[in-house]
Symmetry: C2
Subunit: 223 residues, 2 copies
């Protein structure tokens, strides 16, 4: 039987690359996304296209109302997405988001009897979010080692973060090699309904610089 | 300023007791519940009443569709709630549920700048769920120590599980002392619309035995 993996898929550049890498490793991939009240809802349609194009076995979107707790420019309309770099952890940080996403992925992995959960976090060309750092992934692995029935039965899920130490340019090069069509992906925090990117938010800046550094034409549709 | 705490509140006996204990310790309490597609939806109304009666500052219910991943008698109608004890981890175990609930509590705590998250897990008179054990809470604390902006700034949230080592009878005695009206709470996994309990599921059995052992009249409305 093929090894099963749950792959967190946002519709952005990084998670699409991770899905392609997991598929290239021969995994049967179960893509998991979240309709969490995010401002940039265009990423949900992007994720659907990416999951299909990269041969995910299944793609599920869990509804989860993070607007009920707010606290981020992505989940509270009263907080604007900055169009220039800011000091410290940016307001686009969604409190505990990766913890929540990994937790639900852990649950689905258990239902599927999957061996792995893949997440596209990165601590090189990133926004300084605390839940994208190696220490966070290591701590989540420790938690996964005791949290579930699978763990109790001696088969804890492995948390895989293959992009952790790659630059954005390296991520893009690997994705291109693995067949990712980045024109399908949306990274912008403030993408419009048609999926066009603002070009100036943190996420757009990192993405654009990545394509430049990789020497790959940027297929992003800017508005 | 009063110390703030997020208190996970299900509407059941244990979490009501925890809320009363946190209030008795002088905390300003923010009760957090989940509409996760649970079979026993009567607990949602119970939680609302309990939060009000015990003086929670606020009570929020986050919608989260765990039926999208299923895998439990509580979130999949095709799996029945057993009416007699079973071997091992019961089918009422919801994969990664406490991990998910604590994660969202962690996020809300960060938004509120709360110092603590309280959860009513117990490893004495319990159903053997892996995410109710001390090792699980310790691992979640380690995760909380690195996962958030609060953690990065040196103020990680403390995860408090004050019922961990108490018997059900002790929990009930402490709750009575702290003013909990247990007639408001619903523990049954298969409670009907009117909030009447089945009396035979795992949760009903533990609860009934607890009242007997505590020498406290059982106010549960059995059908």
């Amino acid at each position: 039987m093929k090894q099963r993996a749950v792959v967190l898929l946002s519709g952005g550049l990084d998670s699409a690359t991770v899905l392609a890498m997991a598929r290239a490793e021969g995994r049967e991939c179960y893509a998991l996304g979240f309709d969490y009240g995010q401002r940039h809802r265009a990423e949900l349609r992007a994720a659907e296209n990416v999951a299909r194009a990269l041969g995910a076995k299944e793609h599920r979107v869990v509804r989860l109302d993070l607007r009920a707790i707010g606290g981020s420019a992505l989940t509270d309309d009263a907080i604007a997405v900055p169009d220039a770099p800011t000091e410290g952890i940016p307001v686009t940080y969604v409190p505990a988001r990766n913890t929540v996403f990994l937790s639900i992925a852990l649950g689905w992995a258990e239902v599927l009897e999957a061996e792995e959960v893949f997440i596209g976090v990165n601590a090189v060309d990133y926004s300084g979010y605390p839940d994208c750092r190696p220490a966070f992934i290591e701590a989540f692995q420790q938690l996964a080692n005791v949290a579930t029935r699978q763990a109790v039965e001696g088969r804890p899920v492995a948390i895989r973060a293959p992009l952790m130490h790659l630059s954005k340019a390296e991520i893009i090069r690997r994705g291109v090699a693995a067949g990712v069509d980045y024109s399908m992906t949306i990274s912008c925090y403030d993408a419009d309904e048609a999926g066009q990117a603002c070009g100036s938010c943190d996420s757009c800046r990192l993405r654009r610089a990545g394509f430049e550094a990789a020497g790959v034409p940027d297929p992003t549709r800017y508005r």
